[in-house]
């Protein structure tokens, strides 16, 4: 029986670089490896000995696409250690800025990286020539997301206004009001985008994932900036329970750690998991759009994650407008704190999924140890399992077609390889 080997040594349209290898023996999938070359846990080492207040800005450098997620998880972990809580309008501002990041990150992926797969283009650039209006719509949405981050965070790339306890300066109400017109227009367009993604053609693949996401403790609120960690198989824990529930292990083919639920296995975090575990908490507008798009009763096909992302973009615009409506400038831009020796845990829903930070600090406020678990390393095992199932069901496809489909399978995750590593090769191989 012949052996086939499919390799892609460079994976386009993911943030970073990656390598994937699939080895087939006849129709039997012998091996699936997503290889991630992670530099030694550089940032965790860099943080040791630094002042606790530096963590949000240092960790924001890990990823150019989701700095707000890193800042939020870092701040909340430190606030947990310090025994303070950011509530009311300060928390609303944090959530508002996070909406901007969801919009920005999801739109980049949806329009520029993922849509070309469904429409048969090599790249977003090639697609732009034929689908200019769609791409322009994506750019407008992304810009509106940027503006949200800029107004709250001081600037769009690596916001400088965030600190442990809150912000350096809370925006005036009129600064947020100035965004309204744009946000309303983009919300309309986001609704069109949900409809547009629903009309794409999706390969068949239904997976029985253990889904993991946050669930907000505020009734009726979709999880973004905080919450308890829950799963479709009964996990329901405070962020401090992360290590007791999940573990990371070294695998030979990747220098990134693979995460799993202890004594159970792979799990999935990110848009699909958030949606499945919280879809009854979407705003009426977003819930209606999801239903119209055919995923109102759930979605376990990873290829349909593009529809879920479109729904989350719509929700983020809707939620941003709600937060702006209810905004009153807080008296103080931050909660005061005194350093103390403690351990703190922080989680938030980065665009790609759960982002966990844990810090130990000493009485002087210096970081003793840091641990950061990004969503892409948590999903790595599920990506491999998706590939395994997809390839097993499609061994008859010619190599080129199969390779392309494998790449698409990986891109379903919008894998942010700059979070879990910087140089990832992707290779699919069969022989």
């Amino acid at each position: 029986m012949s052996r086939r080997r499919i390799e892609t040594n460079y994976l386009a349209r993911v943030e970073g670089e990656g390598a994937m290898r699939v080895r087939l023996h006849g129709d039997v999938v012998e091996e699936v490896e997503l290889r991630i070359f992670e530099p030694p846990r550089f940032f965790e080492a860099l943080l040791r000995g630094r002042a606790l207040g530096e963590a949000p800005d240092i960790t924001a450098r890990i990823c150019g696409i989701c700095p707000v997620a890193y800042q939020t998880s870092a701040c909340q972990a430190m606030e947990d250690a310090l025994g303070i809580e950011v509530t009311g309008q300060l928390r609303a501002l944090r959530r508002l800025m996070y909406c901007g990041e969801w919009i920005e990150s999801h739109c980049l992926h949806l329009y520029m990286l993922h849509a070309p797969d469904f429409l048969g283009y090599e790249s977003g650039i090639a697609m732009a020539a034929d689908h200019r209006e769609v791409v322009e719509r994506g750019l407008r949405a992304k810009k509106a997301g940027n503006r949200l981050i800029e107004v709250v965070g001081g600037r769009a790339v690596h916001p400088v206004n965030v600190r442990v306890g809150g912000l350096y300066r809370a925006p005036e109400r009129r600064e947020l009001e100035a965004l309204r017109e744009d946000l309303e227009r983009c919300r309309e367009e986001a609704l069109e985008t949900v409809r547009w993604t629903a009309g794409l053609e999706f390969p068949e693949l239904e997976r029985d994932y253990e889904l993991v996401s946050l669930r907000s403790e505020v009734e009726g609120e979709y999880p973004i900036d905080r919450g308890r960690i829950v799963s479709s198989k009964g996990v329901d824990i405070a962020p401090a329970g992360f290590d007791a529930t999940f573990e990371e292990e070294q695998v030979p083919h990747s220098t990134a750690l693979h995460a799993r639920v202890r004594e159970r296995g792979a799990y999935l975090c990110g848009p699909l998991a958030r949606f499945e575990l919280n879809r009854e908490r979407l705003s009426p507008l977003a819930a209606e759009a999801a239903a119209e798009a055919g995923i109102g009763d759930g979605c376990r096909n990873p290829f349909r994650s593009i529809v879920v992302r479109a729904v989350e973009v719509l929700y983020a615009f809707d939620e941003a407008l709600r937060l702006i409506d209810a905004y009153e400038r807080p008296d103080a831009p931050a909660v005061e704190w005194e350093p103390r020796a403690a351990v703190g845990h922080g989680v938030s829903e980065a665009p790609r999924g759960l982002l966990y930070h844990r810090y130990e600090i000493d009485e002087a406020g210096e970081i003793v140890s840091a641990r950061i678990v990004p969503p892409t390393s948590q999903n790595q095992r599920s990506i491999e399992e998706d590939l395994r199932e997809f390839v097993a069901a499609h061994t008859a496809l010619p190599d080129d077609e199969l390779r392309h489909r494998c790449e698409q399978t990986i891109r379903n995750y919008d894998p942010c390889i700059s979070c879990s590593t910087h140089f990832l090769d992707l290779e699919v191989e069969r022989r």
């Binding site: 349209r13 150019g64 980049l108 520029m112 990286l113 650039i125 791409v135 790339v157």
Partner: protein, 150 residues
């Protein structure tokens, strides 16, 4: 005329900081009429940043096999960046994509110059190499020459 310089890079990845070093060297020269920005190289951000600018210069690290510190100057309006330079930085979807996406959408500025600085190492946590530091100073001079008010 509004001139804009954009330095691309990651400050924590050795020579990947090349574009940022040019931005800092340029600020130190206090050039008249040139706005200086630092970005990570995400294409849509780049296109937004140069929206409305007439003359733009961008600097980024490249790894095309040349000597560390070697400077490539490319007129991006004339055509795509050479394949040997495109996508060579750590930003998988970066400058070359931004240029081509902007071209497809008619959003290229009237003048767009790209300076690619050959990197020696992208090692995480490393300091930029002396060759790249020196090249950043040279590129800053070139940008003043090209974009500065006369």
């Amino acid at each position: 005329m509004r001139g804009l310089f954009i330095g691309i890079g990651n400050p924590l990845r050795g020579d990947d900081a090349a574009g940022l070093l040019v931005a800092r060297a340029l600020r130190a020269r206090e050039p008249e009429g040139i706005e200086v920005l630092e970005l990570e190289g995400e294409p849509v951000d780049l296109i937004e940043a140069w929206d409305g600018a007439e003359a733009v210069a961008v600097a980024d690290a490249v790894a095309s096999g040349g000597d560390p510190g070697e400077v490539h100057r490319i007129d991006a309006v004339a055509g795509p960046l050479p394949a040997t330079l495109a996508g060579a930085s750590t930003h998988a979807m970066g400058l070359a994509e931004a240029v081509e996406l902007a071209r497809a959408l008619d959003r290229l500025p009237p003048r767009l110059l790209v300076y690619g600085i050959e990197a020696a190492s992208f090692e995480t946590g490393a300091e930029p190499s002396p060759a790249v530091r020196a090249a950043a100073e040279r590129v800053a001079d070139m940008v003043v020459e090209e974009l500065g008010s006369r």
